[in-house]
């Protein structure tokens, strides 16, 4: 095979894989505008399922609950993720560093059913002993925050690794106290990573169905739980409409945050160039 043939082989391979990855997303969007009651038969374009979606109070309540949980769990995840990434990055030697590192990365690959079941059984034991917590928003939040902390740790830690430690050293040389170095130098430099960790953990929480099903109590159904129970029964066109709405929102947020971090990057490079000139 010569190099042009290889190039075209590579391009078509990539195109096919992208098509495979995006096909379901396009289907969801296309069929959300389909008037037919049968999800799979195309009749004509209409906004019928968007109207149905707006009147679906169960689903809307679930979306609201999911948004609330996702927001809170992203905050908690970024907070603990910042601490664990910082501890693992800054302190090279302490008792049980390896244990912390493994504990922080295990939830990333651990099957959801195991995390959900074990967390629930622990919370039930705690509840039997202390009478608290009741299963509901708080318990779902804990599960999502555990998973989110693991992801946030990875994001923040990789940023810390590629960050220039000279700036922190310079601040220390200039007489900053450790917490001043952290709040005046490290934290601002970490901002883009914290933002992407927030978005990632928000999405994870907003998407989770297994942990929520284990940890939720009566009256607390998140959006994925409602979608899952409907999808199990069969196909439902208003799910397509909901999917399209979330896809549009997510795409806008992803584009905006990418533009934001690109701008931050350029700004930083300009600042560095300017500082070097002076």
């Amino acid at each position: 095979m010569n190099s042009t043939a290889l190039k075209w082989f590579g391009r078509s391979w990539m195109l096919l894989v992208y098509a495979f990855l995006f096909l379901p997303i396009f289907t969801l969007v296309a069929y959300s505008f389909n008037d037919s009651q049968l999800v799979t038969v195309w009749s004509h374009a209409s906004l019928r399922w968007y109207k149905a979606l707006m009147q679906d109070s169960d689903l809307i309540a679930a979306v609201m609950l999911s948004l609330k949980i996702a927001f809170l769990s992203a905050l908690v995840s970024v907070f603990f993720g910042l601490f664990s990434a910082f501890a693992l990055h800054r302190y090279r030697r302490f008792t049980g560093r390896g244990v912390l590192s493994s504990l922080a990365s295990t939830p990333l690959v651990m099957p959801d059913v195991i995390v959900g079941l074990s967390l629930l059984l622990m919370l039930v034991s705690v509840q039997q002993a202390l009478g608290y917590p009741e299963r509901g928003l708080f318990t779902i939040l804990l599960g999502h925050a555990l998973l989110g902390t693991a992801y946030a740790t990875v994001v923040v830690r990789s940023r810390l690794t590629e960050m220039d430690s000279k700036l922190e050293e310079a601040a220390m040389d200039l007489g900053c106290r450790p917490w001043q170095v952290f709040s005046l130098v490290t934290l601002p430099l970490l901002m883009p990573a914290l933002l992407s960790a927030f978005l990632l953990t928000f999405t994870l929480s907003f998407d989770d169905v297994v942990l929520s099903s284990f940890l939720s109590g009566p009256g607390y159904s998140t959006m994925p739980m409602v979608i899952f129970s409907r999808a199990r029964l069969g196909l439902n066109p208003s799910i397509n409409a909901l999917a399209t709405v979330t896809i549009v929102v997510v795409t806008l947020v992803v584009i905006a945050s990418t533009l934001y971090s690109l701008r931050q990057d350029r700004q930083r490079k300009r600042d560095i160039a300017q500082a070097q000139q002076e």
């Binding site: 990539m14 495979f20 997303i25 969801l28 049968l38 910082f86 651990m110 059984l121 284990f214 979330t246």
Partner: protein, 302 residues
């Protein structure tokens, strides 16, 4: 203000240094939420189920706890062939998922790493983009595509390639489609991260010495990307073994996956000790891949 700060400072116990706080906080968080629960599952798997609640394994008699172990759940697990068959079929589904992901993902990551530099950020973003859309909704979309009167069957019928719709949904085929689809990005990203760092000089040297490109690929590129291959395979295999949502939505009633068994033991049968025993055995099964994965993780950051 200064005196307030001073008194605040004095109220912090002397052993609580900044370093201890920074390490201790995430430590406590993960120990309580990730480690302690596994111990409790282990405990419950060794208790017996009573009609209303799980009996306590530890009962206090005077000041000394008396411990009784009940291994009946494990004995049942070992004696029932269905459980064994389910574990084996979970592992084989996870294995084939990993294999197909590697087969699709390796060339992809390879070509992605060799694409012009200015395109690479966009190509990576396009891999991540589906990941931002709800996983559940994307699996649900496959249901619409694979059903008998769905898009794929209709397209094949229109092309005249088939005469009657192929039964695809709720078969091992649809399960594999869903699994490969969901886990492919987890294979591609670590492979790409690894391959994009590959030193091009090795390849040039091989070419200069008259090595055929295919031979160069097998003798240099593949061995150098071993870490990426192992990381990608672990990231796919471990969660795939315990997958619940995909077999539930795309697999048929006959596709045995251990995640489903665990779910049913817990939610339908309310048998907590049995669900816990199923969990502990699953944990033992993924222990080795997990150890490999954790070792790679810590090496990557060292």
């Amino acid at each position: 203000m200064a005196s307030l700060m001073q008194s605040l400072k004095n109220s912090i116990p002397s052993w609580l240094t900044g370093r201890r706080l920074v390490i201790g906080l995430p430590y406590a968080w993960f120990l309580i939420l990730a480690f302690l629960p596994v111990l409790i599952v282990l405990k419950i798997s060794l208790s017996e189920m009573q009609t209303t609640a799980v009996s306590g394994m530890v009962s206090w008699q005077g000041t000394w706890p008396s411990i009784k172990l009940d291994v009946s759940s494990y004995l049942f697990l070992a004696s029932d062939e269905l459980y064994l068959a389910t574990y084996l079929s979970s592992i084989s589904y996870a294995f084939y998922t990993t294999l197909i992901c590697l087969g699709l993902g390796y060339p992809f990551a390879y070509f992605m790493a060799r694409a012009p530099k200015r395109w690479q950020a966009l190509l990576v973003m396009l891999i991540m983009l589906p990941f931002w859309t709800s996983f559940l909704l994307r699996i649900y979309a496959w249901k619409t595509l694979l059903v008998n009167n769905g898009l794929i069957n209709n397209a094949l019928l229109a092309l005249g390639w088939i005469d009657s719709p192929i039964e695809m949904l709720n078969t091992p085929f649809s399960l594999m489609i869903g699994m490969v689809y969901s886990y492919l990005p987890f294979m591609i990203l670590p492979l790409y991260a690894n391959l994009s760092k590959l030193d091009g000089r090795y390849l040039e040297a091989a070419a200069d010495l008259g090595c055929h490109p295919f031979k160069t690929f097998w003798l240099i590129t593949v061995p150098l990307s071993k870490a990426g291959i192992v990381a990608g395979c672990m990231l796919v295999f471990i969660p795939a073994v315990g997958e619940y949502v995909i077999p539930e939505l795309l697999g048929g009633p006959n596709t045995l996956m251990i995640g489903r068994v665990l779910w049913d033991e817990f939610f339908s049968n309310n048998d907590w000790p049995m669900a816990s025993a199923v969990t502990i055995v699953m944990l033992l099964l993924i222990m080795l891949p997990l150890a490999i994965y954790n070792k790679l993780q810590s090496k990557g950051h060292a």
